[in-house]
């Protein structure tokens, strides 16, 4: 995005970008009102389908809102009671901690692997590069729900191919291992799934960015005796630092709010092994009908995400210069 945007804004001829039709006092009324009419559907849609739900969420989080209020209405205002309830609950803090650990592991793996894969693609010959990029696109294209289904099949205890391969390699203890019955192994599978699905985007974007680094720079570094690691650390990474920053922010946001993968595979279980904030909010609202507590947890999630978002926007506007 940053790439495409930067290209279009700089590539467009300077005259007229953004200000093609100069505003003149004497323009007829309809011409002055027209732009507002054109953006009106967007504004109305955003107001009703985005701002209103967010406000409603905030409202529910300061009300007593259970199944009775859902059916009959008339929820009463309880102030910060719901927040007090969740913030004094040890389980909530466990979930918060787990969400951060979950995000750190996933994002760390994604960034490291994506960087390595991007460098690898750059070093390959034409055909091998084509094959690897094609493979990445395939992994990227599979819908999340199809992927969760496939992973459940890969790790199936009796007929799953993973157990078969592990046993064939001599790890007898994996014979008939029930991966999804154990907390740690379920957590590991969810991580594997998310990393597998996220690396392609990050790797392909990083690779595209790396091709913009002038070849002469790295070549002269190599003539000066720098190895590949040093070339990356001294040339490629500093130049692409903003791009790395953007992708890092995006991945943190995506992993932190990740819901579907976890819900489809384990619904936060077994035990609470894969219970992260978005899943916890959903679970508490749906199974306990405590919409108020769920809304409060969602608000906390939104607040944490807002901090990361702020970093993302700062980086993006620095990149683009202007809106």
């Amino acid at each position: 995005m940053a790439v495409a945007e930067a290209e279009t804004t700089t590539a467009a001829p300077a005259p007229g970008t953004g200000t093609p039709v100069p505003a003149r006092r004497g323009r007829p009324l309809w011409a002055r009102v027209l732009p507002y009419l054109l953006v009106a559907p967007t504004v109305v849609g955003t107001a009703y389908l985005l701002v209103y739900p967010l406000v409603r969420n905030l409202l529910i989080s300061v009300q007593k809102f259970g199944i009775a209020q859902l059916i009959r209405g008339g929820a009463e205002f309880v102030g910060i009671d719901n927040y007090r309830t969740i913030l004094t609950d040890n389980k909530f803090w466990g979930v918060v901690g787990r969400t951060f650990v979950f995000t750190a592991i996933n994002v760390g793996l994604i960034m490291v692997l994506a960087t390595l894969v991007a460098l690898l693609i750059g070093a390959l010959g034409k055909w091998m590069r084509f094959a690897v990029m094609g493979g990445l696109v395939v992994a990227w294209a599979i819908p999340v729900i199809a992927a969760t289904t496939v992973f459940q099949w890969l790790f199936q205890s009796q007929l799953g191919v993973v157990n078969w391969v592990l046993v064939a390699l001599g790890f007898e203890q994996y014979d008939g291992k029930a991966w999804f019955a154990d907390g740690n192994s379920t957590f590991a599978i969810v991580v594997l799934l998310i990393v597998w699905q996220s690396v392609p985007f990050a790797a392909l974007t990083l690779y595209a960015a790396m091709t913009t680094v002038p070849k002469e720079l790295s070549e002269s570094a190599q003539i000066d005796g720098a190895g590949s690691v040093k070339t990356f650390a001294l040339i490629t990474f500093p130049i692409l630092r903003p791009m790395f920053g953007l992708i890092l922010c995006l991945e943190v946001i995506w992993v932190f709010k990740c819901f579907v993968q976890i819900w489809a595979i384990s619904q936060g279980g077994p035990g609470d092994a894969t219970l992260t904030l978005p899943v916890y909010a959903y679970q508490i609202a749906q199974s306990l009908n405590r919409y108020d507590l769920g809304a409060a947890i969602s608000m906390v999630t939104v607040l944490i995400l807002a901090v990361v978002l702020l970093a993302y926007f700062r980086q993006m506007f620095k990149e683009e210069g202007e809106l």
């Binding site: 495409a4 945007e5 279009t8 804004t9 970008t17 200000t19 093609p20 100069p22 505003a23 732009p35 507002y36 054109l38 953006v39 559907p41 967007t42 504004v43 849609g45 955003t46 985005l50 739900p53 967010l54 409603r56 969420n57 529910i60 693609i121 390959l124 010959g125 590069r129 493979g135 990445l136 395939v138 294209a141 599979i142 819908p143 999340v144 729900i145 199809a146 969760t148 289904t149 496939v150 099949w153 007929l159 191919v161 078969w164 597998w196 392609p200 985007f201 974007t205 595209a208 995006l250 946001i253 819901f259 978005p278 959903y282 969602s298 999630t301 993302y312 926007f313 993006m316 809106l323």
Partner: protein, 277 residues
């Protein structure tokens, strides 16, 4: 010389590893879908197709409601995309071709809307849908998917629009077109490729969406969409993994086709962050 050769060899082996790792789950899905049940349940799995069967596909296609869910998914995705294209075209034109007060604020709003954590809005959406009697109804899903794809559509269309010189329109207006005609006859044809790829990305988002479809369609099973149906495969197919994988393959097919159509444009387009699994 020798170190260079071994370096090249290592790189290629690594590349093969990356390729195998990324493709294998998808390969295994498709392979299982075509395998006879006897082979799926064999002690030693076969890694290459020996006998090809279509029984699993016919089981999947003939499963209860498959075509209804397929139609629902397609209907919801297509109407959401068409809505957001129309609305985004208007907004992108106002942003890219007109000067007005509040333009900057509007663009900022779109950028923020693009990063909405939809997962955090599940609960209020459920309550709102219930209040407005929109539970179990596809139009509600359509509206949500419309809003999910709208910001991305506006941002990319604006990008494409900025790439089209204003002089073209001005020339058309000198030749006697009014503003609308200049847009329809000159800008629109140039914008068409952008419209196509943007709408395909929107389609993927809506086609894949699970969380809201799972939450908002509860009682009326006829209104379910494919992802929800697929996620409950064990209810439908039990332990019939062949049929499950056939269903997953059929579900993935349109998305894979779209990715193939878009090819190179995928990276730049999706970097916007709108389309994510």
């Amino acid at each position: 010389m020798r170190t260079r050769l071994s370096r090249k060899l290592t790189l290629n082996i690594l590349a093969l590893g990356v390729f195998a790792f990324s493709v294998f789950p998808v390969y295994w899905m498709v392979l299982t879908a075509f395998k006879p049940t006897k082979e799926i349940q064999a002690e030693t799995p076969s890694f290459f197709p020996t006998h090809v069967t279509f029984t699993h596909f016919s089981t999947a296609v003939n499963a209860d409601g498959f075509w209804i869910f397929w139609r629902n998914s397609g209907l919801v995705a297509i109407s959401a995309v068409l809505m957001s294209l129309l609305v985004a075209c208007l907004a992108a034109y106002a942003v890219g071709r007109m000067k007005w007060k509040g333009r900057q604020a509007f663009i900022l709003m779109v950028f923020i809307a693009q990063m909405t954590p939809w997962e955090a809005l599940l609960i209020p959406m459920y309550v709102i849908a219930r209040d407005t009697d929109m539970l179990d109804k596809l139009p509600m899903l359509t509206l949500i998917y419309f809003m999910m794809t709208l910001p991305f559509t506006i941002v990319t269309l604006r990008g494409f629009l900025n790439g089209i010189p204003v002089e073209l329109e001005e020339a058309a207006q000198v030749d006697g077109c009014n503003q609308f005609q200049a847009f329809r006859r000159v800008v629109f044809p140039l914008l068409a490729p952008g419209l196509l790829s943007t709408s395909l990305f929107g389609f993927i988002t809506a086609w894949n969406e699970f969380a809201f479809a799972n939450l908002l369609i509860i009682k009326n099973q006829d209104q379910r969409t494919l992802p929800v149906w697929l996620s409950s495969f064990s209810n439908t197919f039990g332990t019939d993994w062949g049929a499950t994988m056939a269903a997953a393959t059929l579900f993935m097919l349109p998305v894979l086709l779209i990715f193939l159509v878009l090819q190179g444009r995928v990276t730049t387009g999706v970097a916007a962050g709108a389309v994510k699994g």
